[in-house]
Structures are given as structure tokens and as C-alpha cells.
Amino acid sequence: MIRLNAPAAPNRRDIKHRIVHSLAALGIMILVIFSILATGSAAGDTAVALVEVHIELRPGGTGVVRERYFHIHGPAFSKFQLLTDSSAEIQRMTIREDDANNDYAMSKKGPWISLILKPENDDRNFRNYTVSYAIQLFNQDSSIPIAMPAQPLSSDQSGATIATIRLDLPADYRGGSVYLPQMEVVQGSDELAGSFPALPSIVRFHFPAGVSLPRRAGQSNRVTQSFLERQLYPFLVLQLVWLVLYFRWARASAAPMSDPEIRGPAPHA
């Protein structure tokens, strides 16, 4: 008589091992996905520009803007496209496109940015306000500021905004950050006291596909290779090896028969 072995139902240990392997596979998959995303690189990706505002109004009505800057990635200012973000409560930034109908076409005057300061959900009229500001422009590969002229600006005639700042960027600007260390409301500021929150606020902009970080002539991949190869990838590989070795050890050293407690309750008094 021939007896066939029926397939054994998986026991608890098998199920746990499968879960371990599944989780390890999940971890590997996540690492692989990260790697694929990493090597997918910049072309076609969106970039992000930010405006951060930290406003503190002095007693007596003189306003000082602290920690105000916006950060721009990518050299292609002419291709920037503004996606107005309704999250802007106290300011809006616009980046004009370089097109044939634009007076500020990049080929003529270079790119420019306007920054509109306006509290949202505030119905007051800001018609007679004037602000002065100083501005610093940084190229992304330099910590030396490019001096920009400070100029007082008045609120627009409709009174809907406090101020609109227009910043003409140098034609050879390669992208980087623009820093407004100070902004003062020099006229009509009494009503403003206390009206601005002293917390950072950020406006998000998405750039269209095709924008990528510039690479200067002669620049090699040395920097990014050191970043990837010397620290991050070795860490990921080490972490993975560590996990695999650990589970192999844990399985081998914690065989069911070596554990008295799984054979029955511990005989604690």
C-alpha cells in the first residue's frame, strides 16, 4: 500500500517565518524603490520654491520682518509657472513667465519676482502704507550675498495689499535664495500692531516639468557620488545585512524546543 504524505498545514512557526520573510522582502522592496526614485533624478521632476515669513511687529507700530526669504531651485526662471497656493495667509509671491508679451522678458531685463504682502482674511484697507526693505540675493553655490538696492514701496491704490515688492534678478543669476532680513512699515503702521503672527509661513510653488538644477561647466559627479556611495548606500546595505543576519540568528537560536515556556505555562509560584 502506498501512502502519500499529505501536505502539512503550516504551523505557527512557519507562519511567523513567512511574516519575517515578508517583512524583510518589504524592507528590501522599499530600499529598491528608494534607489529607483533616487536614480530617476531631476529631469522632468517638479521643483519647489518657498517663501518663508517671520514677522514681528514692534510696539508702537514699526514692523520688522525676520527670517524672510524665498528659495528658488533651478535656473530656468523664464519657465517658472506660478501655482497660487491658497495657504498664503500673509503674503503671496508671483513669478512672472518669460513670454513674448511680457515687458520683463528674460532676454531684455532678466527675470523678476514680485512679493505681495497682504494679510488674508483681513478686510482692513491698507491704502496708505509704505514699507522699506533690504534684500540679499545668494547664488546657490555661494554664501556671499549679492547686494540689492533697498527701495521703499507704497501699498497699491486699491488698499488691498500692504506692499508689492518687485525684485529684478541679475541676468546671470544661477538660482539660489533671496533673503529679506528686514522689512519695516514706515508709514501708516499703527493699525498693524499685532496683526501679524510671529510664526513661519510658507507658500509653495511647483515648477513645470523640465526644470532641473544647473550644472556648471566642468563639474563632475564627484560630489553626489561621495554623498551616495560613501555614506548612504553603505548604510542601507549594512542595515539590510544586519537585519538578515539578525533574523537568521534569531531563528536558529530560538528554536521552539529550546524555549521551555512554549511547552506550557511557566511554573511561577
Binding site: I30, L37, A38, H71, N121, P200, S226, L240
Partner: protein, 489 residues
């Protein structure tokens, strides 16, 4: 300032989280009929929930905000501090967890009472746990209060009370059971947040190549070595070694269903932390590229959640921060409460207490110590973070040698353990008072550890060995069950 609809979404999901957590507390309430049920989940946790519990104890706001801020500030080299966490878990898996689980105590002071047959060691260790952990708990409340008040229009005091009340409610109701299941929820939320946010961030910064280039442009040390290996070792030593002897991790180990499960649970904890390590790294580095001049690196996570990520992923990222405050707070609170109810009240004042009285004492201790750290947090001590770091160093100097060596060296004695605890703590305190640079380049925790280990060995060798009865619990021949009596003083 968060726009109103972002704020509403954040408040809604935070409110939902609070409701779910309290529901978990209610659901597990019926399981906490005796002391073991309340304080160590009836020793019933399996490897996955146990692994999540171990991870959830360790991953606090210090990781989701602090480590992200560290990466933002100092770049990639801080990543290597995770190796000390691996090392700490390995020590726990090999040298600590199996024996602790076999002993099947309730609290870390139970181990001292059993291994060294000393009521004094139980009392001293319980008091240190209560003091150090109360400060650490207040730091969780303070950080939670600051974050929530910053994101919402809630006042700081209201936010602190909200965090503390959430922690107190689910911990009072479900004890370790609710901590375990909230820990599992925390693991799911953390991994969900990182797995969804990291791909978006990598796309936003143009991939890792572009990120590396941009970071190098800002400061070449961000992609190189901001910290030297020596610095990293000093920074991570207390965290890594602390894992092997942290009172809340020991309580979690007691809660696992068997000795075998301890090793698997630690493995799962590795898996969770491996994902979190990569997540916080990408968070910090991406934020440095996207918003390179934040006034405070600790703002990296809140700003990321509020303004960079798509709203639902951003809200999930922010929720994970709230979860880390509340869940780690729960573990700390339960550990403090168990030290008070189990080690002080029951062992010193009411040894004949019934199980019902013990559980009641545990719940009342949770409520009591749920309030005290709130008072500390409302005072908003500027130096609280330094106090927390110092408390961690002190705990390692105090507990590491008596726990790890005491569990694995038969010759360790009660006198040696006492000398080790006080000598290590004194050395750590003294070193901390010395001006920088420290003598011989030693960090306070390194000095405390060296003194603690030397004193344990030297004093043990010149004193009477421990009794065979106490040694049998920890050094019994293989496959013989433990004989620790939890009712012993």
C-alpha cells in the same frame, strides 16, 4: 501660519486619533483584571505587536522632530548613530531579554530584588526611575504642547493638557495592553507616513543626486562628516546602551509571550526602525535643500508637514509627531506608575495587597504621575532638553552594568551592584560638572560606564557571592524553567 482648512484637517485627524486611542484603552480595560494584566499585558504579546511596542518606546519626539532637525542641521553623518541602536538591541537580544523574560518580573526593580536579594536596591532603583522619567515625561508634554500650539490656535497650556490627558486616559484604562496596541498603531502610522512622504520628497528635490549636489553647495560637511566618528560615538552611546537597560523596554520584554518571542520582537523592532531611520534622514536632508535657513532646525518637521508635503501626507507626517508624544509618554508614564505602585506601595507598604488593590494602585499611580509632569511642563523650563539628555546618561550610568553584567556574570554581588550604581552615577554627575573639554576626552556617560563597570567587578570580587537561590533564577541549566516568585519582596 497654517491656513484654516489645513488646520481643520489637522484638528480632525488629531481628534480622530485621540478617540481611537481612548477606544483602545476602553477595549483593553477588561483585560486588566490583575497586576500582570495591567503592567505587563498578561505576558501575551506576540513578536509583531511586541516589536512595535519596543520600537514605539524608543522612537519618541526626539526622533520625529529632534533627529530630523539634526539631519537638517548637520547632514548625513548623523545617520551613523543608528548603528549604536543596532548594537544596543543586539546586547538586549543576546544578553538581557531572554533572561529577563525567563525571570518574568513586572518591573526592572524586580530584577534587582531577585538577582541581588536586596529591598534597598529595589527602592533606590524605583525612586531613580520615578524622578528621571518624570522629567522625561514632562519633556514629552512640553514638546507636544509647543508643536500643537504652533500648528493650531490652541494655547500652550491647553495643548499640554490635551497631550497629557490623552496619555493618562488610555494608560489608566488599558495599561500595557493599550500601550502595546497604540504602539502598533504608531508603527503603522510612522511607516505609512515615511513610505508615502519620502518618494514625494525625493521627487521634489530632484532625486538623491540633485539633493547631494544642493546640500554640498550649501555646506560640504552636509554630505561629508559634520561629526567625527568620536563625536558620533559619544552622542549615541547613551541611546544605544540605554536600550539594553531602559526600564520601559524591560517592562515591554516582560510583556512578551515567551523567551523565543523576545528575539523575534527585537528583530521586528529593527525592521520598523530601519524604515524610520531612512525616513527621518530624507525628511531632514530634503528640508535643508527646500528651506535652508529655518530659524530652528526643530521646525523642519512641522514646516514640512504644514507647507511642503501634499496636505494629506503632510497631515499624516504631523500626526506621527503627535503619536510619538502620546505613545512614548504612555510608556514612560506606565513605567513610573509601576515603580510607584508595584515597587514602592506593594513591596514596601502593602505586601498582602490583593490583585484588585494592586491594579487600583497602578491606575491611581498613572493618574498621579500623569499630573505632576504637566505642572513641570507648564513651567516651560528652557533647559528641559538638557535635563532629559542628562537623565538618559544618568540612567545608563546607573543601570547598564548591574543589569547587563549582573545577568551574565554569576560572581556579581549586591554590594558590587550598589557600588556600581552609585559610583557610575557619581562619575557621570562629576564629569558633567567639569568644563569642556572633558578629562581624557571622555563624555560623562563614558566616564560613568567605565567607573560603574570597574566598581561592579572589583567590589563583587571582594565580597561574598550571591546565594544559589538567586543565581538559580538566572543561571539555571538550559531548558529548566525559571523559579522567580513575583510575590517575593
Amino acid at each position: 501660519m497654517t491656513p484654516s482648512w489645513h488646520l481643520r484637517v489637522f484638528l480632525a485627524i488629531t481628534g480622530l486619533y485621540v478617540v481611537v486611542v481612548c477606544a483602545i484603552g476602553l477595549w483593553t480595560y477588561r483585560k486588566t483584571k490583575d497586576e500582570a494584566g495591567f503592567l505587563v499585558a498578561g505576558r501575551s504579546l506576540g513578536p509583531i505587536v511586541g516589536g512595535a511596542t519596543l520600537m514605539a518606546n524608543q522612537i519618541s519626539a526626539g526622533t520625529t522632530i529632534g533627529v530630523v532637525g539634526f539631519h537638517y542641521f548637520s547632514g548625513i553623518s548623523f545617520l551613523w548613530t543608528w548603528t549604536s541602536v543596532w548594537f544596543g538591541w543586539l546586547i538586549a537580544a543576546i544578553l538581557v531579554a531572554p533572561k529577563m523574560r525567563e525571570m518574568a518580573g513586572i518591573t526592572l526593580p524586580d530584577y534587582f530584588a531577585a538577582r541581588f536579594e536586596s529591598l534597598a536596591l529595589r527602592g533606590v532603583s524605583a525612586i531613580l526611575i520615578m524622578v528621571a522619567y518624570a522629567v522625561m515625561l514632562s519633556a514629552q508634554y512640553q514638546a507636544g504642547g509647543l508643536l500643537i500650539s504652533m500648528i493650531t490656535r490652541m494655547s500652550y497650556s491647553q495643548a499640554v493638557i490635551l497631550v497629557a490627558a490623552t496619555v493618562a486616559v488610555y494608560t489608566t484604562l488599558g495599561g500595557m495592553y493599550s500601550n502595546a496596541y497604540v504602539g502598533m498603531l504608531k508603527a503603522v502610522l510612522l511607516i505609512g507616513a515615511y513610505v508615502t512622504a519620502v518618494p514625494f520628497l525625493l521627487r521634489s528635490v530632484g532625486g538623491l543626486h540633485a539633493l547631494g549636489y544642493a546640500l554640498h553647495s550649501i555646506d560640504s560637511r552636509l554630505t561629508g562628516s559634520w561629526f567625527t566618528a568620536r563625536h558620533l560615538f559619544a552622542i549615541s552611546l547613551a541611546v544605544g546602551l540605554g536600550l539594553a537597560c531602559a526600564p520601559y523596554e524591560i517592562s515591554a520584554i516582560y510583556s512578551l509571550s515567551s523567551k523565543r518571542v523576545t528575539r523575534l520582537a527585537i528583530g521586528y523592532s529593527f525592521v520598523f526602525q530601519a524604515i524610520i531611520a531612512v525616513g527621518v534622514l530624507i525628511f531632514g536632508l530634503s528640508m535643508r535643500k527646500l528651506v535652508p535657513f529655518l530659524p530652528d532646525p526643530d521646525l523642519a518637521t512641522p514646516v514640512l508637514g504644514m507647507s511642503i508635503l501634499p496636505v494629506w501626507i503632510g497631515m499624516l507626517a504631523l500626526l506621527t509627531v503627535v503619536v510619538t508624544f502620546t505613545r512614548t509618554g504612555g510608556a514612560i508614564l506606565l513605567t513610573i506608575a509601576s515603580a510607584l505602585s508595584h515597587d514602592i506601595y506593594v513591596k514596601f507598604f502593602r505586601p498582602q495587597a490583593t490583585e484588585k488593590e494592586k491594579v487600583l494602585a497602578g491606575r491611581l499611580s498613572v493618574l498621579c504621575f500623569g499630573i505632576i509632569p504637566v505642572i513641570i511642563a507648564l513651567r516651560r523650563m528652557d533647559l528641559v532638553n538638557f535635563v532629559v539628555i542628562f537623565a538618559s546618561q544618568l540612567l545608563v550610568s546607573f543601570f547598564f552594568a548591574p543589569v547587563v553584567i549582573g545577568l551574565n556574570w554569576r560572581r556579581a554581588t549586591r554590594e558590587g551592584a550598589l557600588a556600581s550604581m552609585f559610583g557610575g552615577a557619581t562619575a557621570c554627575l562629576t564629569w558633567n560638572r567639569l568644563a569642556h573639554p572633558y578629562f581624557w576626552g571622555l563624555d560623562p556617560v563614558e566616564a560613568g560606564l567605565i567607573v560603574s563597570i570597574l566598581l561592579l567587578i572589583m567590589v563583587s570580587l571582594v565580597t561574598e557571592p550571591a546565594s544559589e537561590h538567586s543565581l538559580r533564577i538566572f543561571f539555571a541549566p538550559k531548558n529548566l524553567p525559571a523559579t522567580y516568585d513575583n510575590r517575593a519582596p
